[in-house]
Symmetry: C2
Subunit: 361 residues, 2 copies
């Protein structure tokens, strides 16, 4: 099945803008007449340094990152951040964690190796079907930071508000970064794996309030010290050059599409179409509760696992790829990241309606 | 300057085989008619799993990895391994380190955070101009492992023998992996950043004796546990998919060129041409001592820094890129990794001879 007949709903790594891929393909053998692929450039070369600086400047512009904060391009994904955050920020004290899904749960578990974890919220008992309200958050007195994951890809929930806390906010934005305006000044640290809205897998973007760096535990590996990476401008060692180049191209595309404000409009519109239909459907059931629903990952199911499987199979035959839900949650999931065009949502909706007509009891 | 007029002598990231880049370019928009780029594939998809499994199988075949050992595809480069090795293997005890260059020095420094480091050798006093002999190695009684870096890119030295030690060998082969046959069974652990002989930057390949895994310190991040990564087949989290795909293509090319045995012949021949000339030259001076010289990174200089600078400038004008030495060692460096054709060496040699005629006093 060729590219023009496919919509890729993968939860990550995910669809990239077609124009970005075309540019990467065009430049692949010889970047701007320098005689080398970006994949072959020394990370210390002038040509690569320009790519690096441009990517960083574009990211800062898109996110309106204030001068109090630094942008880092790291490796290891969100999973390395689960350890890096407490190693650098917990200082042997206590941190508040809101566990609203699989990845915030993993982060809380990892942090226990380096300090005391206080669960400010835990939606495990109800299968992570919603986001706690501000009033429900149980904040501890002297927390070094408050940690949450703004969008839960597996369960299809998303924080619709920014928590009010005395402690600095640390947020895993892996699945909704660059999809809406964010007041970066309210955050101590933001991190995101690139493979959903930014670039191919292998790059982690960190935005850190510089005043929080330099407090790492003595057992922190040099490469995992935010202060060292700030001092070295992310180049203590060889960075993931190709991913940084791809991010730079994606940020050009993002700007041409109206930036994060443009993405926010689109994200709301895409998801709303699906939720409106799900709430009316007699066959499909939305997984997440209203008020907590994710614009990025719409999760739903039919009344039976057999029918779910049939739906997923039929979707693939129509070129609607990767709509199977995560193995933990089952059912279906449509991931609607920045590069998903409205045509993809319309095609999915059309298939869902056909499927419901065929299977309505 | 277009690709056909350039030879890229970068120490890393480095030149990749042209046929590999062409294949990557061809497949970039749509991998084998699946409607997606490799950069857009879920790492849990069948299509990517096949790429992953193929890359691993080809690597095991090329390196003749025995069943006692596991191959891991990780992130973070050699620098993360500097911490990951002691976190997993030192068990609060002592490890022997042979410091023969910048990166083994960094590794030894990092290991001190997790145990006791005994310097089995240290060539710092003579500017890392040679590799210690077996007889010179001062091995401690109960070392958990013996650590060395088989090729020093900055100083242009390479171990011509495998150390005999009671403790398991741990080797940083970042700059000479896949360039010669290696008896993997003699090693407890081998690691290598991909960006010299294997793939674009962002992938670290680890080969570990499975019996050494599972001894990590309690403060080890989950993602840095070799045992966890063995159990998860390197997919605890999203791996650097594009780099793994590129490695797979490079391994196809490697096999077509006679595998590691073919590479070894070429590597000897390439370097010998340059060293033979350097030893005869009245202008150029080889940096490393005979018996310790690297086939991968030939380091040399003229009698003056001004002349070095002129040489580097003139080289670039001829399309001989990145021959400037590392800032630590100065002078010049020609990095001759697997993808460097003999024509590149001949072009460099021709320029060196012209330069000597012009500048001979």
């Amino acid at each position: 099945m060729s590219r023009e007949h496919v919509f890729n709903f993968s939860a990550g790594p995910s669809v990239l803008p077609e124009s970005v891929l075309r540019q990467a393909q065009k430049d692949l053998m010889d970047y701007q007449g320098c005689g080398m692929s970006v994949m072959e450039m020394s990370h210390r070369s002038k040509a690569f340094q320009e790519i690096f600086d441009a990517a960083k400047a574009k990211f800062k512009k898109a996110m309106k990152v204030p001068d109090t904060h630094e942008v880092l391009f790291l490796q290891g994904g969100g999973t390395l951040q689960f350890a890096m955050v407490p190693m650098n920020l917990i200082e042997g004290g206590t941190a508040d964690y809101a566990v609203t899904g699989n990845f915030s749960g993993k982060a809380a578990k990892e942090a226990k190796k380096y300090g005391t974890v206080h669960l400010a919220a835990d939606t495990t008992p109800t299968g992570h079907d919603r986001i706690p309200t501000q009033a429900e958050l149980q904040l501890s007195q002297d927390a070094k930071y408050f940690y949450y994951c703004s969008n839960n890809t597996i369960y299809g929930t998303e924080w619709q508000y920014v928590p009010e806390t005395a402690a600095p906010l640390v947020c895993d934005m892996s699945s909704d970064i660059l999809t809406r305006p964010v007041d970066v000044s309210r955050y101590g640290l933001i991190f995101a794996g690139a493979q959903k809205n930014m670039a191919p897998a292998g790059l982690t973007v960190v935005v850190i309030d510089k005043s929080l760096a330099g407090r790492e535990l003595p057992i922190t590996p040099e490469i995992m010290s935010y202060q060292t990476m700030i001092d070295k401008d992310s180049m203590l060692n060889t960075p993931p050059c190709w991913c940084i180049y791809m991010l730079s191209l994606v940020l050009d595309w993002l700007e041409s599409q109206g930036g994060v404000a443009g993405m926010e409009q689109l994200k709301r519109a895409r998801a709303q179409k699906l939720y409106d239909y799900l709430d009316e459907s007699d066959l499909f059931i939305a997984r997440a509760l209203p008020g907590s629903r994710s614009d990025m990952n719409v999760t739903f199911r039919t009344p039976s696992e057999a029918l779910d499987a049939e739906f997923v199979k039929g979707a693939a035959e129509r070129g609607l790829l990767n709509v199977k839900g995560h193995r933990i949650s089952g059912g279906m999931r449509a991931s609607l990241y920045n590069a998903m065009p409205m045509e993809g949502v319309d095609a999915l909706l059309s298939y869902m309606k056909d499927f419901e007509v065929k299977h309505h009891v």
